[in-house]
């Protein structure tokens, strides 16, 4: 059931790395049940935003706040954020040779959703259903986490985790990059299944509008040089596809 408290609230967020400012005052709210998209060129701060919400230790927040359902995320360790309900689908997921997918998923679900959710017939059924939906073969469970995976397999594996972990906030960082159109459709189906009709929210970070044809966003935000310079409905993504970012960059320069 939707409440007035947004799933994600970012206020006046300033952050950077090694004393280099990257984010310069981001304001953003994602209400429950909504999917928002952040679009921008390379280097605009999209991935930094995702990493800061997840708590990457390389980045330093110099001002502002990030809240999940009213809870201050910035005071939490990354694993505490994950257990509080934040999920980040990585642009480049890490390979962990030697760690089997099946064990990894069980441990992750146990840590985030509780031991009872990670065992028994019900867990196995959820796992099987999600794998079927994402067209992932059962042999996947015996492989090592992201080790030797193709680009498409890595992205589908991230979405498999999203479906099993059922987070309150899903951040999808360039999940569409490296996927063909069938892959985008499959991944989009997974995202819609995990977010639509729930109390969760999602933030889709993307360079292109392709995935937004399959996951209709409620709002689109444009990030330029660490600031959101424009927000609008799904039509904004189409406008960006046609006109590019230059006109917005010029507008941003004028107002700066």
């Amino acid at each position: 059931m939707a409440t007035d408290i947004p799933v994600l609230e970012i206020s006046n967020l300033h952050a950077g790395i090694d004393d280099t400012p990257i984010l310069r005052g981001i304001e953003l709210e994602v209400p429950a049940g909504e999917i928002h998209a952040i679009m921008g060129r390379n280097g605009s701060g999209k991935t930094t935003t995702a990493n800061i919400i997840m708590g990457h230790p390389d980045f330093e927040v110099t001002d502002g706040g990030v809240e999940l359902n009213g809870e201050n995320l910035l005071e939490m360790e990354p694993w505490e954020r994950a257990r509080a309900g934040v999920f980040l689908s990585f642009q480049y997921p890490q390979a962990v040779p030697g760690l089997q997918v099946g064990n990894f998923l069980r441990k992750s679900v146990a840590a985030i959703r509780g031991e009872d959710e990670a065992k028994g017939a019900e867990f196995r059924k959820r796992l099987k259903d999600a794998m079927t939906e994402l067209d992932i073969d059962r042999s996947f469970l015996g492989r090592y986490v992201n080790d030797g995976f193709s680009g498409g397999e890595k992205k589908r594996f991230e979405i498999l985790q999203l479906m099993l972990l059922q987070p309150k906030l899903a951040i999808l960082d360039e999940t569409d990059s490296g996927l063909d159109i069938d892959g985008i459709r499959t991944v989009a189906k997974g995202i819609n299944a995990a977010i639509r009709g729930t109390d969760s929210g999602a933030l889709i970070i993307t360079h292109y509008s392709r995935i937004l044809e399959h996951v209709q966003p409620d709002k689109v935000h444009v990030l330029i040089k660490g600031r959101i310079v424009k927000s609008g409905g799904p039509e904004l993504a189409l406008e960006l596809e046609e006109r590019g970012y230059e006109w917005l960059e010029k507008e941003a320069e004028k107002s700066a």
């Binding site: 990354p78 962990v96 990894f104 992750s108 985790q161």
Partner: protein
């Protein structure tokens, strides 16, 4: 000359020798008085099958049988010393030709609680196919374990030796010939003893031999685990890979030294060695020295490499983003690192057994 006389006729090994660079003989001798050869007790030996419904037919341990000679490629000091100490403790693992087992065979060696030595010969007939887990446990202050012998032509053997004595010194020597077209995986899992010195030598003197030497080494507190591995390609069309993973924590030290020798005439030899060290604390120390001696030009390839480093921060962040707390993430990465070689040692059954053993060892180190 008997083994004791041979040992006494030899000079103290020189530290300049690759084998003795990091762990001098004096430090692994039972008393430090190099002229002394201890009266070592025999261990308790048990042969069984992991699947206890399988009858052991065609495989047996015979006591008192004089086994195979030590290869001339082996170090004389360690081999003669253990042979002398183990003169009352000689065994042969005899495996009849065409022996096949679908479940791993387990050879338990319980050292007891006093100095212990054993000379075990592997007499493995041709066209055998099985997995062998040799487990050395016990509380002996010093254990000497020498294996000699030959893996028969065309045999397929997954051979894993697990060293997890409670403490003390483990001196281990392998001096093993690989038969024609034999396929051998020689695994070492080492997580016990205060000090281990292992000198593992494999000779591929007949064509078509295929050897994978694998190590999963876990050291903690003040442990000192030194493994030297030599692979001799003396015949054409022989293949070997050495993949050695050491995770090193506390004040401990691991050493891995490798030597690949490709003799003149070993055409088509294909050899490679890799040492990976995972450093888990600032005081832990890991050395890896791979060396090559290639005397034949017509080889498929001969390579070597090392990699050392702490736990990968990006992998840590990935696991933490999936709900693993910092300690759980680190433990999972250590287990994964050691599992990368463990999984290559044999079948799923063998791997599951080894993985459980390794997890127990990891839990013990934390408790």
């Amino acid at each position: 000359m008997d083994a004791a006389s041979l040992y006494k006729s030899l000079d103290e090994p020189d530290k300049a020798d690759h084998l003795w660079r990091y762990t001098p003989w004096r430090r692994v001798h039972p008393s430090g008085d190099l002229n002394e050869i201890p009266i070592a007790a025999s261990p308790k030996i048990t042969l069984s099958c992991l699947d206890d419904s399988v009858a052991l037919v065609g495989i047996s341990v015979e006591e008192g049988v004089v086994g195979a000679e030590v290869l001339p490629e082996s170090d004389e000091v360690t081999a003669s010393f253990i042979r002398a100490a183990a003169k009352e403790s000689v065994y042969t693992l005899r495996v009849e030709k065409n022996f096949i087992a679908n479940s791993p065979i387990v050879l338990d060696i319980d050292t007891g609680d006093s100095n212990c030595a054993i000379h075990l010969t592997l007499d493995i007939g041709r066209n055998c196919e099985f997995e062998l887990i040799t487990q050395i446990s016990g509380a002996a202050p010093w254990t000497g374990f020498l294996r000699t012998g030959r893996i028969g032509d065309g045999s397929i053997l997954n051979d894993v030796v697990i060293g997890h004595t409670d403490s003390g010194v483990l001196l281990r020597v392998d001096s093993i010939a690989i038969g024609r077209d034999a396929q051998v995986k020689a695994g070492t899992v080492s997580s016990g003893s205060a000090r281990t010195k292992a000198d593992l030598r494999y000779k591929m003197g007949e064509t078509g031999g295929h050897l994978n030497v694998l190590g999963s080494i876990l050291s903690a507190s003040d442990m000192h685990l030194d493994h030297h591995i030599e692979i001799h390609h003396d015949a054409p069309e022989t293949f070997s890979r050495l993949d050695w993973h050491s995770a090193c924590g506390g004040n401990s030290r691991t050493v891995g030294t490798g030597m690949l020798r490709v003799a003149k005439g070993a055409r088509g030899a294909d050899a490679g060695q890799l040492f990976h060290n995972l450093l888990l604390s600032e005081k832990a120390e890991a050395d890896a020295i791979p060396e090559l001696e290639v005397s034949e030009h017509d080889v498929v390839g001969c390579g070597h490499g090392t990699a050392n480093g702490p736990v990968d921060e990006d992998q840590m962040f990935y696991l933490e983003s999936r709900g693993f707390d910092t300690e759980e993430a680190k433990d999972a990465l250590i287990a994964a690192f050691l599992n990368s070689t463990l999984v290559e040692m044999g079948s799923d059954t063998l791997h599951n057994w080894l993985a459980e053993h390794l997890q127990d060892e990891l839990d013990d180190l934390k408790s």
